[in-house]
Amino acid sequence: MEALLPVLIKTLFIILVGVAAFAPVITWVERKQSAVMQDRIGANRADIAGITVLGLLHPVADVIKLLTKEDVVPTGANRALHLMAPLIASIPVIASFGVIPYGGTYHFGDTTVNLVVADLDWGVLYIFAIASIATYGTVIAGWASNNNWSLLGSLRASAQMISYEVTMGLSIVGLFMCFQTLRLTDMGVAQDSTFRVFGFLEHFGFVESLGWLSHLTLPSWGILLQPLAFVLFLTCVMAENKRPPFDLPEGESEIIAGYFLEYSGMRFGLFYMSEFIEVVVIGALMTALFLGGWTIPWLSQADIIGGVTPIFGVGVATGLCMVLHVVAFFVKVIIMIWLQMQIRWTLPRPRYDQVMDLCWKVMLPLSLANILVTGLVILLIQGAKA
């Protein structure tokens, strides 16, 4: 109980940054990027006394519009479940921020600052578990609306989300094997180092012939150790999020808007916002798993603190390191969000059977092969070292 205040502050920070700051701005980024890619001027009409701030007032206009619209429950709908569904869809998404570390562990004298809300030993499993609950939001929304288009959308959503959850779990087993942990903070620490690209060759007797190549180092980030897992996992989480190109549960040209067809006002807004919040969660999760989390490449925490301490002392050095790490984390999150936006506005929507084929016939075998090859390589390296 004595540690309740720091936990509350950390929770507030991540919710404010992720939900209140990032998500609304992403709705603007989405509009602007679609405008750029379709050769339009884009969101620039919302203004206060003629000042448009590059269209950044559009999120504000959105919120005012959604809050003042009538909240309609269709006749024949199951009222309680209809009202509950947007909450079931959005709460798990926000809850998954709880285990994502946005900084490392820092020692200020006797106090230790750990920049994660809940440092769970089973952190990745927690995210998988929480994410699987969000399926109910979409399924119940479609059923409780008493509309056949909605029901079709929710059936598509449930099949798609369950299928991609299987591959999502299997695709990063290789990553767990590399880092030997499921704790997201330990993964960050493991990525705060470098590895020599051709170092493994020394175990096979190629010490002298490498020359300068033997000094070539890369940060030991997940994306460099498990490039296939990065692609597979990103595809799976994007399919889980149901945004284009995986927006078949919404499928505007076929089933109008799918599972949230009968929603209006702020309840529609919750579905809409939870997709954007999930974009931030995906960015943060991909950063923590594959892009080295809060770490700065080729510059470990010990290097930063060790380098700054002689000038400003240990306290300032640690504080500076903490600030640099948090900034590095959010820069990487922004890069991952940009990547998702780029994919969203580049690829068209595939047919439903193509989505299912991609999951079960391409990505599932690939992720199983990835586990096998990773295990073999780890055994080979261990054998060569021994």
């Binding site: 030993d121 499993l125 578990a129 699987s132 109910y136 449930s158």
Partner: protein, 167 residues
Amino acid sequence: MSAPAVFFYAFGAAAVISALAMVLNVRNTVAAAMSLVVTMISLAVVYVVLDAHLVAALQIMVYAGAIVVVFLFVVMLLNLRHDAFAQRRERLVKGAGVVLALGAAFAFLNLVPKSLPTVQQIPADFGSYAAVGRALYRDFVLPFEISSLLLLAAIVGAVVLAKRRLS
């Protein structure tokens, strides 16, 4: 009462109440299935309080996240109504259910606690994925592989039976 104990009793009660809601809610099968989800999640919280973290994650991922979604899928497609169930048998079934529930409650409150072995010392990593993984893949690897073969056979059998009905 300590914080874990509060969580234990609160979510234990939630599990029982939502399980009752599932059984008694014949009018709306989708709401009954959602009550089952609440039961599963409450049980997962109870597992977390008991330090069985891996079981808690699997409880939500497998039961709440996958199996009940498939239940819901079927229930939504069939769109069952209250009159889809036979009225006459209901009273008999309810009576038998009450007797069975009382018997189970008696067994759990009286017989089970006496027959449980007393644990001297709980290992430090009890319930973690590492401990469960060691038990599954090192100590009991043969039974584990045999049960996975059985499951594979069951899956193949189900596919064969379903395909035959289609053609």
